[in-house]
Every structure is written in structure tokens, then in C-alpha cells.
């Protein structure tokens, strides 16, 4: 749930001095605040659609270049595979089946012009790579939006205001409501473990010169929730030794309310280490200075850039403010940004949502319950046009380009081999044999490029990132390549190649022998 990456367009934030610096929706949902956008710093640059398009174009270019390199590196594997398959066919060569001889000719034709075959392979490799990557991302986004039926995580947010800024008592109120009004079977199994509060605190180590390096964004929360409610921080998510180490860090966090945990990358950028004490000048909680001690870090992965402090320390500091200043801090009653609850099933969520919605409960401000997936869905709503374009314009366009590349290559190849095709026809080969020889050649390259691309990439990713790629995009969990690409890739390659080869193969099998020989003569 600790996100790291930026990329979402946060609403413009007021500069330092505003009483109530609002947090963006991305913050409400857990995107780490971009320090450049933080109050007290320079005016936030406008993250326009144009900028996003530029980023996407460069990203796509980088992917294409990477895939081209990878495709080139796997060329020996491609040719080795064709040799191996040809070897198998050779075992049956003497059977005299026409199909086997045609298939053998097909394999040998691949080596006729190695450069052209290689280029076709690399081109198909790149297209399959890009397409399956996009597919994986789209499938991943769909999966995170799928409603779970059991162990449903739900969020309480403000109904009419984004970002949510709820009073700290709301967590207790929600627990009380659940205990009182939810049927026993619909209640969280353990209120202690299954409820978590998030408050967002942005701060800097330097009260004046605030930079990316000396700023950090912290989640103010109940320490024990780190082990029970956070994604990818459970016992099953990491090796035993790592989990024990993290448990110790959480215990340290529980020992003193000033203690904090900071991710490894963040520690490095701040130039701090575990055991050091730091003064954090809050950027969104005006005049709040936190005196913290770094007591631990997170397991390597998606939390490397995150930090956690104790919620009770934040509340205590807000209380101190009242004592010192004689007035309540403007955010004292708005320091709860999200409340998470784990419910046994979807039905329990629906019951709780109905209760929370009842008049008289949670009136000021009014709140709503939504599932995490629905929350993500709402977040992705902002990107629905982009996702639509990716799914229905970019992906089909790439498939068409893929087919065109094969088509052009095969057309050139056939033009060079018209005489050979005519010879086959002269010798009595039926047009369908000629057709299959050309068609099969294209489909074979397409199939193998798709197969090698997806299996190779999938294999490498599995070896390098056994638990998935832990790059924290917003509130998304670990990114795993969809296993379906293992069959989708070869299929995609074969289908695109089939589409691209059909017409050249058709023209090839329609070569008129007499015309070819007249031209030769």
C-alpha cells in the first residue's frame, strides 16, 4: 500500500502558509507525494497531457530499444531452435511424406537469407515484447480492480471531499459501529489486527532549504498494522530471516512513539542511517516539528522509498501545539486520511457500507466505505481514456504493423523465389504445397519469435524477481508478468505472421510456371 512512483497528476497544491494544505487524491489513495509539489517549495509544474505523452513516447522508445537488443541477443537461440526442429524432421525424412519434405524445405529456406530472417525475427520479437508487456500491464490493472469475495479490504474515505481529512476519532467510531451493528460473522476477525489508520505527513530535514533529498513522506499509523494490514509485508511475502528482521524493526517502532522506520533508498538519499535521530519539519502540518529516531528499515523492495511514523506521536504533537499556542491546530481534527478495515467477505462490506451511510452516523464530515479495488478503479478512471487507447488503438495498431512487417518481408522473399515456386509447380507440386511452404515459413518465424520472446523474458523475470517486480506504482502491489503471455506470445506472433504471410503465400502459389519460364528464356 505504500506507493512510490509519481506519474499521477496531483491537483495544484497551495504554497506554504495555507492553513489547510490539502493532500491530493493520489495521497489519499497512497501515492507518495512528489516533493516538488509540496507546500513550501517551488510552484508545482503542470503535469500536462503533453508532458505525459512525451514521457510515454520516451518510455516506449526505451522499451523498443531494449526489446531490440534482447531480440538480437536471442538470435542464436532462434537459429538453434530451428536447427533442432529440423533435426527432428530429418529423422522422419525417409518416410517420404510430402508434408515433411515441404516442412524441411521451409526450415532450410529460413537460412537462405540469414540477414532477412534475422531482421524479421527481431522485428516480430520486438512487437511481441511490446504487445505482451502492454497486455501484462492491462491484465495487472484489471486484476487489481477485481473484487475479492473473501478477506475484503475496505477503505473509509470522505464522501464529498477529496482528499479525505477525517477526525482521528473516526477510527474508534468505526470500530464501535462494527462491534455494535455488524452481525458477528461479518465483523473483522480481530479488531486489533484488521483495522489500520493512515495519516499522511510530509516533512523535510531542513526547515528552509527543502530539497528532494532532505524531504520525506511518512505514513502515520498504528505500528502493529505494518505486520497485519500492509501488502507484501506479511510472513508469506518474504524469506523467514527478512521477516524476523522486520518484526524486530516493528518492535522497535512500538517501543517509543518517536521512533520511525525509513526505507533504504530514502535513508540513502537523506544521508542518514538507522540509529540516527532526526528533526522533521512538517510541510503539511504547519508548525509541527517531529523529533524522531530512525530505528529500522523495510525489507528490500517496494517500501525502499517510504517511511512510517506512529499515529499517536502525530496526535501528541498536535495536542502539544494546542498547549503551546493556545488554539487547536487547523489539522488536528483532520489528520486521519484513510481508515482500512479487513472484513471476512464482500457481504460484510456491503452491510458496513450501508451502516456507515445511515443518517446520523459519521456526519461531519460524511464518509463512505469502498473496497480497495473500487478505490483503485476510481483512481484509474482518470486514466480510462489512455487505457482505452492502449487497449483498442495501440495494441491493434502494433498487431497490424507486425503483420505488415512480415508481409513485406515475405513478399520480397517470394519475389526472389518465384522461379523456384514455378519449378515446384512444373514438377507437379499442388499449389497448396507451395502455399504451405511459404505460409509455414512466415508462421514459423512468428511463432518462434513469440515463443522465445515471452518464454525467455518470463524466465528471466522469474529468476531475477522470484516474487514479482516490486516497483511500487501507487497502491498497486507487486507486478507480476501474466503467465498467460506464455501462450499468448507464440499465438500472437503466429497469428500476426499468418496474417502477414497469407497474401504473399497466396500470390506465390498462384505463380504461373509458363510465364516464369518465358521470362527466364
Amino acid at each position: 500500500m505504500f506507493p512510490k512512483a509519481g506519474g499521477h497528476r496531483p491537483p495544484a497544491l497551495p504554497l506554504q502558509g495555507d492553513d489547510v494544505p490539502p493532500l491530493s487524491i493520489s495521497h489519499s489513495l497512497g501515492i507518495r507525494m512528489n516533493p516538488q509539489m509540496m507546500p513550501g517549495m517551488s510552484v508545482a509544474p503542470d503535469f500536462s497531457l503533453f508532458t505525459m505523452a512525451i514521457y510515454m513516447a520516451f518510455g516506449l522508445m526505451a522499451i523498443v530499444l531494449g526489446a531490440t537488443l534482447l531480440g538480437t541477443l536471442t538470435l542464436p537461440l532462434f537459429f538453434a531452435t530451428t536447427f533442432a526442429l529440423e533435426g527432428v524432421l530429418l529423422l522422419f525424412q525417409r518416410s517420404g511424406f510430402l508434408a515433411i519434405r515441404v516442412a524441411l524445405m521451409m526450415f532450410r529456406s529460413l537460412r537462405r537469407n540469414i540477414l532477412r530472417t534475422s531482421l524479421t525475427y527481431v522485428a516480430l520479437f520486438v512487437f511481441t515484447f511490446v504487445l505482451t508487456l502492454i497486455y501484462s500491464i492491462v491484465a495487472f490493472l484489471q486484476s487489481v480492480q477485481e473484487e475479492k469475495q473473501q478477506d475484503v479490504k475496505v477503505i473509509m474515505t470522505e464522501k464529498f471531499q477529496v482528499p479525505s481529512q477525517m477526525p482521528p476519532r473516526y477510527t474508534g467510531d468505526l470500530i464501535a459501529v462494527m462491534k455494535k451493528e455488524l452481525p458477528l460473522e461479518s465483523q473483522p476477525k480481530n479488531f486489533e489486527d484488521d483495522v489500520m489508520t493512515w495519516g499522511f505527513v510530509g516533512g523535510s530535514l531542513d526547515p528552509v532549504n527543502k530539497t528532494l533529498e532532505n524531504s520525506l513522506f511518512m505514513f502515520a499509523m498504528e505500528p502493529h498494522s505494518l505486520l497485519t494490514m500492509m501488502d507484501d509485508l506479511g510472513q508469506k511475502d518474504m524469506p523467514g530471516a527478512d521477516y524476523e528482521k522486520f518484526q524486530t524493526a516493528v518492535q522497535q517502532l512500538q517501543q517509543d512513539k518517536r521512533n520511525i522506520l525509513v526505507g533504504k533508498d530514502k535513508l540513502a538519499t537523506m544521508g542518514k542511517s538507522v540509529g540516527e535521530e532526526v528533526k522533521i519539519y512538517s510541510m503539511n502540518y504547519k508548525d509541527i516539528v517531529l523529533e524522531c529516531k530512525i530505528v529500522g528499515t523495510f525489507p528490500d523492495g517496494r517500501y525502499n522509498g517510504s517511511a512510517v511514523m506512529r499515529l499517536d506521536y502525530l496526535i501528541a504533537k498536535l495536542d502539544d501545539y494546542k498547549v503551546q499556542k493556545g488554539s487547536v491546530h487547523p489539522l488536528a481534527e483532520r489528520c486521519t486520511n484513510l481508515v482500512w478495515v479487513r472484513l471476512p467477505n464482500k457481504q460484510a462490506y456491503e452491510q458496513l457500507a450501508a451502516i456507515v451511510n445511515e443518517p446520523g452516523k459519521f456526519n461531519s464530515p460524511a464518509v463512505k466505505m469502498e473496497t480497495a479495488s473500487a478505490g483503485i478503479g476510481s483512481f484509474l478512471d482518470a486514466y480510462k481514456d489512455i487505457l482505452f487507447a492502449v487497449k483498442y488503438i495501440l495494441m491493434p495498431s502494433l498487431a497490424v504493423i507486425m503483420a505488415l512487417v512480415v508481409s513485406i518481408t515475405m513478399t520480397i522473399a517470394i519475389r526472389e523465389r518465384r522461379t523456384e515456386m514455378a519449378v515446384l509447380k512444373v514438377l507437379g507440386f499442388p499449389p497448396r504445397s507451395v502455399f504451405w511452404m511459404i505460409f509455414g515459413e512466415g508462421v514459423l518465424i512468428g511463432f518462434l519469435s513469440g515463443l522465445i520472446c515471452t518464454w525467455f523474458v518470463f524466465g528471466v523475470v522469474q529468476v531475477l524477481f522470484p516474487g514479482g517486480i516490486k516497483f511500487p506504482i501507487a497502491f498497486f502491489g507487486t507486478f507480476k508478468l501474466d503467465w498467460r503471455i506464455l501462450w499468448l506470445g507464440p499465438l500472437l506472433g503466429a497469428v500476426a505472421a499468418a496474417l502477414g504471410t497469407f497474401m504473399p503465400a497466396w500470390n506465390g502459389c498462384k505463380v504461373k510456371a509458363s510465364e516464369v519460364f518465358s521470362q527466364v528464356a
Partner: protein, 235 residues
Amino acid sequence: MAIVEVRNLYKSFSRGAEKIDVLMDLNLDVHEGEFISLMGPSGSGKTTLLNLIAGLDSPTEGSIVIGDQEISAMSESELARWRTRNVGFVFQFYNLLPVLTAYENVELPMLLLPMTGAERKKQVLNALELVGLGDRLTHRPGQLSGGQCQRVGIARAIVTDPTIVVADEPTGALDSKSADTAMSLLELLRSELGKTIIMVTHDPKAAERAQRTVHLDKGRIPANEMARQKATRVL
């Protein structure tokens, strides 16, 4: 007995609105076991006639009977099947498949016939032995000389034991020594195996090796040539 009977043959092509008559009212008989050469200037219709006799094309008018089959009435697929069994082709530029070995090139037409592997192997080896390339079975065309390629081409033409062998400028791309070898082989096919051979050539030396030379001019066999043919037939 004529194994090839060409009667009142017309062949014309269209180029846009223009109609080009390539063969006009052509009659020709070729006897079984005969070796004839077709000569004539470029554009006289030699190759077109050869293509028609070999079943690669269909006439505009007239009939062609090979053995007891009228091929001019056959569909394209029927012609394809017929060619496999009845016609062997020798081309000017050999037209061997570069990805196949000499053995595989010769075996190619046999894959279309219902034969066992052993039968096929025997015939391929016989054909290659006949042309003197029994020691070049695994060589690819790129590894053979022009003359050797043409000999592979001849082996491929005879491997299915066809009724007729058609050769289009078989010596056109060869040096004189290789050309001589190729012509000797064709003569051998006629004399030893009794094959009927129809050869198109520009080379008078090659034509001399045939038993009979038919001259074509502007799509016709000239009147004096016809008379000579008749006389030959009477004799």
C-alpha cells in the same frame, strides 16, 4: 507411331487490348523414342510450343495429344498430376532448389508418386549414377559446377520415368565441354532408355545431335519444313 500429336494449334496472348498471336495453325508429330530439336529466331514461339506440349499452359485453339491423352482438354490440377508422371523437364538454368542436396532435388518429383522409400531411393541413385553424379549425393547446387547442375537437372527429369523429356535450351548456360556432356546424356536417354525428347535450342551444334530439327518462324512451321516432316513420316 506418334507419341506427340499437335493439331491446328493456336496460342495467343493479350497485352491490354492488343492480341498477340504466338502460334498459328501449328501441326507437329513426334514419334516415340524420337529426339527432336525446335529452332527458330527469338519470338518464333519455340518455348511457347514446348510449354504447351509439357502441359504448362493451355492452347487457345487446337489439340495436343500425348500418348493417348488429350492434354489440351485438361484442367490445371489434372495437368499438374499428369506432368508428374509423364513429363521430365530440363531447364536452361537448371532450376534446382538451392536449399536441397543433389539427392533431394532429384527425389523431389518422386515425392508426389505412391512409392516406398526404398523404391524411391533406388530410382534416385540410378538416375544420379546414370548422369555420373553418384558421388555428389549430398552436394547442394552451390557446391556443384554448371555442368554438374545440369546433369542433376537431367537426372531429375528422368527419375520418374516420364513419357517425354522436354528441354529448354539445355546447353544455353554451359561451356562447350559441359554442353557436350549434357547432349551426350540426352542422346543416351533416347538410345538406351527410349525416351522421347523435345528440345528447344539456339545452338546449331546441339540441334545437330537431335534426330530431327523443326524450324519455327513467326509461330508457324514453314511450308517447306512441313513437307520435309511429311517426307520423314512417310520414310
